[in-house]
Symmetry: C2
């Protein structure tokens, strides 16, 4: 058995600071100082204490410590969905989407090194939101990373009002003085527009996400603006909800209305996958008949056939940055609100 698995000398009770103090023959305070590495402790006592710790197998109780220090070493990742119910299948879809995993991976890469744990929270109802904020004010977590799904989410405002250190991934829909890390979605859309026009497409359409999500909205306006600049005043648009099926449907709708489409910008890779299917069914070749540009550069982009030319969304980096921002904010609560905007790039593959 490894050293760490040392069994206790029976007795249900775990050793406490008090026990260590007794064994070492000093006071609780002294043990506490040693454990927390505070200087001003006689080297000799110092060693006796560590011996006692080893003997008893003492491990500090984080809960008790947190109660007094008001620090938990935990950051909450809250997924805020304005009106979902517990049995809403949407959540299942959300977690299955690579988006979620990429965010978690990015966050953990930073938090893990700092020894901070991530607590996952999903809030949908008003009551859950209120409760979350209440817990947060009590220091249930040192800070929170917010992933806000719906259009107009009251949560960001509630958090800032409560003075909870928070960082959003993706900008808030309504202006709220909150830290956030975002992608220049409009620039990304422009990149796609430039590329499609550049390769000679005559009729370019777009498949967008829900219009009330800021990221989605920015992609629409950015794309339209850029297309207009290229002389295409009007862009056929069909919207989906970021799932593959919705992308397939949207593409069908587009094809039905505008049969000569020869280029399409799809607001995320998953929908692009669906659109690819619809195009194949309709007998259109990609990229020969219809060129396609996706968004996200998720694993779906390489998996697709043909592989997707797509706008790279450095989500892991963004998540990591938001974790760093949050940690800084926790360390120094007076830090002024800031935001970091990442620039997307176009990744060329086969679809356009």
């Amino acid at each position: 058995m490894t050293a760490g698995t040392r069994r206790l000398p029976v007795g249900e009770r775990l050793p406490t600071l008090e026990d260590v103090a007794r064994v070492a023959g000093v006071s609780r305070a002294t043990v506490s100082r040693v454990i927390n590495g505070i200087r001003n402790v006689d080297p000799q006592l110092h060693e006796m204490v560590w011996n006692a710790v080893g003997q008893t197998g003492y491990v500090p109780n984080r809960l008790a410590r947190s109660l007094v220090t008001r620090r938990t070493g935990t950051v909450a990742l809250v997924v805020s969905d304005s009106e979902s119910h517990d049995d809403d299948p949407f959540m299942g879809r959300f977690f299955a989407d690579p988006y979620f995993g990429r965010v978690v991976g990015g966050l953990m890469s930073v938090l893990r090194a700092a020894g901070i744990q991530l607590a996952l929270q999903i809030v949908g109802t008003e009551e859950q939101r209120t409760r979350l904020v209440g817990d947060l004010r009590h220091g249930q977590a040192d800070g929170v990373i917010v992933l806000s799904l719906p259009g107009h989410d009251p949560l960001p405002r509630m958090l800032t009002d409560a003075g909870v250190p928070a960082v959003m991934i993706g900008r808030p829909a309504d202006p709220v003085p909150i830290n956030y890390v975002d992608l220049a979605n409009d620039t990304g859309a422009s990149l796609a527009a430039d590329h499609l026009v550049g390769r000679g497409c005559q009729l370019v359409a777009m498949i967008s996400g829900p219009a009330d999500v800021p990221a989605s909205n920015d992609r629409i306006t950015g794309f339209r603006r850029s297309m207009a600049r290229h002389g295409h005043a009007w862009v056929p648009l069909a919207s989906g909800n970021f799932t593959q099926e919705s992308g397939e449907q949207a593409m069908r709708a587009l094809l039905a209305e505008h049969s000569q489409v020869d280029g399409v910008f799809v607001a995320n890779d998953l929908m692009a996958l669906g659109a690819l299917l619809a195009l194949r069914d309709a007998g259109r070749r990609v990229p020969e008949d219809v060129a396609m540009v996706g968004f996200d550069d998720s694993s779906a982009a390489v998996a697709a056939n043909p592989a997707l030319t797509t706008v790279r969304h450095p989500l892991e980096d963004m998540a990591a940055e938001s974790a760093r921002l949050l940690m800084a904010r926790i360390e120094d609560p007076t830090m002024r609100i800031s935001s970091v905007i990442y620039e997307p790039t176009l990744v060329l593959r086969q679809s356009a």
Copy 2:
């Protein structure tokens, strides 16, 4: 502003039980009883207390409560990777894989309804493991769901030794008296074997995962056994590490050694995607020249072209079940160790 966002009457301090008691004109104990819904409280006092709660905007401090009740309302999801380092890129891959998200989604579907939060922990080193177990014994979390990646992981044993309620997703590599939820991986592999042989394949190969992972190993042995039963005593095998690239490489290797392969069973969908690419490059049509069966029925399976015939792995259900099992175990620590094995099914699509 919503009712829940009620601001405090200034003053940094959040209202405590004591404050509520003062306002209501009763003792702390009474307030506690009311809050926790313990009967034996005069209806009149009951109401006064709730009024006071409303007036003060009181929210119980979970930390303080946990300290005394020894219950945290938190379950830890620990991802155990025997020898990764903080900068190991593997973790990034792991989180990006739909596997992780599906597990989280399944867990949350159950935990959320029970008002339990999920804390994510990643442990790689011996020290982290020891520390995790120490924290867990102190009731840092009420229980733990273990996702064990490496072959021989000491963590399950450490957890049972420490008496921490735990449930593994996927059986432990070494025999350990721990609850787990698993898939009948061998049966799944048999299903694939039967199908490939049934459609007339003459030379069937397999692309497997790492041999020291139990799930992966079961798929290999199950497949071999079933093929043997069909008269194919020997099966060409190439192994990957569950990523798309490794699947592509494995397929190339297989093709190089056994050019007449006309059927292949791939141990997960992601590798199947890679294998598909390799086959296309080699000019083989799927399923006409080579039939392929994947494993998992992840979103990659439908996204693939041709869509993958694959063994369905009901991961969400399994995760949900493990959450239920854990909750039961937490409620009743004397519950005997149990395991739940799910039966896979074959999902027919185009690749075989």
